[in-house]
């Protein structure tokens, strides 16, 4: 699987750093687990659409719907370009192994 694009989510909340990550394939449970690594993963399988959420130790939150080709990443307030670039690089590398 390949990371095909990243897009900042524009909303009206000042200082939010929310990005959408797009891939050329769907994120299934196994891939989500690999992506989560040591992060705390939570599934909402009883929702009409099965949501998952990963909370990383640095405060970054990743959210998505299982089997969709994208997820959303919420970086903590005040995070910089370097942190986002590092996360994006890691996303691309992990996606490449799936």
């Amino acid at each position: 699987m390949k990371l095909t694009g990243v897009e900042k989510v524009e909303n009206c909340i000042a200082g939010d750093f929310v990005y959408r990550y797009f891939f050329d394939g769907p994120w299934k449970k196994k891939g989500i687990q690999i992506m989560a690594g040591t992060g705390n993963i939570k599934y909402y399988a009883d929702f009409p659409r099965p949501l998952y959420e990963v909370r990383f130790s640095d405060g970054t939150i990743l959210k998505g719907v299982e089997s969709e080709r994208e997820f959303r990443v919420i970086f903590k307030r005040g995070s910089g370009d370097l942190e986002r670039e590092a996360f994006q690089k890691r996303c691309g590398e992990i996606a490449g192994t799936i």
Binding site: N11, C12, I13, G15, D16, F47, P48, R49, K63, G64
Partner: protein, 373 residues
């Protein structure tokens, strides 16, 4: 429940549109454009017909209505066309949308004028004590919203504007959240000017809006240009509505708005009653959920809330992606109101149903919030 889609963002733009709107837009676009339609009394074309029906709805005169691209354009035309002068005092409120706040803030900086904001009292209503005190300083303009796009509260505009007029001020009403939801009669509300969009409560197409300007008020033209009439004049024609309408109008949009008005006329009271029931059920349902805080006391179908321990972005994502509910999260373009309510910069989650929303939809929305809270 799977793959259900529920639209609860009617305070931004209504969906579905009123019956017949889409067909009217298509019909208009499939026909060759006709006469210019800026002759207020002209009944033979789509613009003229829409203007006349709007006038009946608002109990106004056709020539008191300028057709615009939305409430934002209408409010800008009003604020910038009023001829405010350096040092003038303008009163507005913390409840306002950026479409009021930003044009006024710009003039505060460029003229400069003096801009004062009416705060909330401890009940979440406008603080009339502060308002009356500021009126003694003789403002040129009082600009306020009829209904809050955050809390759904309806302001007692008739009384507030009566006092403003007594103080010698012009009055500008932002009726974006009330038009189509409750009867709107600008003259009876003591509004010299009133702006609203056609695509919220009225259920018309996006790209339509209206500015009511009482015959006693003469606004300067903010936009000048082609009118299709009186083309020999180097200046924008003086008479309304040509004075405030330059350029080729959105005729298909207003053909659609005309169809929306036909659905609304004569049914305003029953729409208001049905929406009051829907709003009550939504508020009661949300209040039964631990950790949910509703902002203010909604009288309109505009219900904003927060969930303890969750950012509204997180909650909004779960509601939209997990439950297929379209709702608005954030500041709703009303930053001062969120500050006043103690939820800035995080914002709130807003459900804005309409009279077309069913009680089953409300139950679904409440159950979704219960499961994510």
């Amino acid at each position: 429940m799977k793959d259900r889609e529920l639209y609860l963002n009617n305070a931004a733009a209504s969906f579905p549109l009123a019956p017949g709107v889409t067909q009217a837009v298509i019909r208009s676009m499939e026909n060759p454009p006709r006469v210019s339609g800026r002759d207020a009394l002209g009944a033979e074309d789509e613009l003229g017909e829409c203007r006349r029906n709007l006038a009946l709805l608002l109990e106004a005169r056709p020539e008191e209505l300028a057709l615009c691209s939305g409430a934002t354009a209408a409010l800008n035309i009003a604020v910038l066309g009023l001829g405010l002068r350096p040092g003038d005092l303008v009163l507005t409120t913390v409840m306002e949308h950026n479409s009021v706040l930003r044009p006024l803030s710009r003039l505060e900086k460029t003229l400069p004028l003096r801009l004062e904001y009416i705060p909330l009292d401890d009940q979440g209503n406008l603080d009339t004590g502060v308002y009356e005190k500021l009126l003694r300083e003789k403002p040129r303009l009082v600009a306020l919203t009829h209904g809050s796009n955050v809390t759904g509260v309806i302001n007692p505009v008739t009384e507030l504007f009566e006092k403003a007029r007594d103080a010698g001020a012009r009055t500008l009403l932002d009726a974006s959240q009330t038009a189509g939801h409750i009867p709107l009669r600008p003259a009876a509300l003591n509004a010299d000017m009133a702006a609203f969009s056609g695509y919220k409560g009225l259920g018309g197409p996006r790209g339509t809006g209206v500015l009511y300007v009482a015959s006693s008020i003469k606004l300067e033209s903010v936009f000048t240009g082609g009118t299709g009439l009186k083309s020999d004049s180097p200046l924008q024609p003086e008479e309304m509505p040509l004075r405030l309408e330059a350029g080729t109008p959105n005729t298909p949009g207003f053909a659609g708005l005309n169809a929306a008005i036909a659905c609304c006329r004569g049914k305003e009271e029953s729409i208001a009653e049905k929406e009051a029931g829907i709003t009550r059920a939504l508020v009661e349902g949300l209040l039964s959920i631990r950790g949910v805080r509703i902002l203010g006391r909604p009288a309109l179908p505009v219900v904003s809330f927060t969930i303890e321990g969750q950012s509204c972005e997180e909650a909004g994502f779960a509601l939209s992606e997990g439950f297929g509910i379209s709702c608005r999260t954030g500041l709703h373009c009303a930053p001062l109101m969120h500050r006043a309510l103690g939820c800035f910069p995080g914002g709130s989650i807003r459900f804005s149903p309409s009279f077309r929303t069913s009680m089953a939809d409300i139950d679904y929305a409440v159950e979704a919030v219960r499961r994510i809270a």
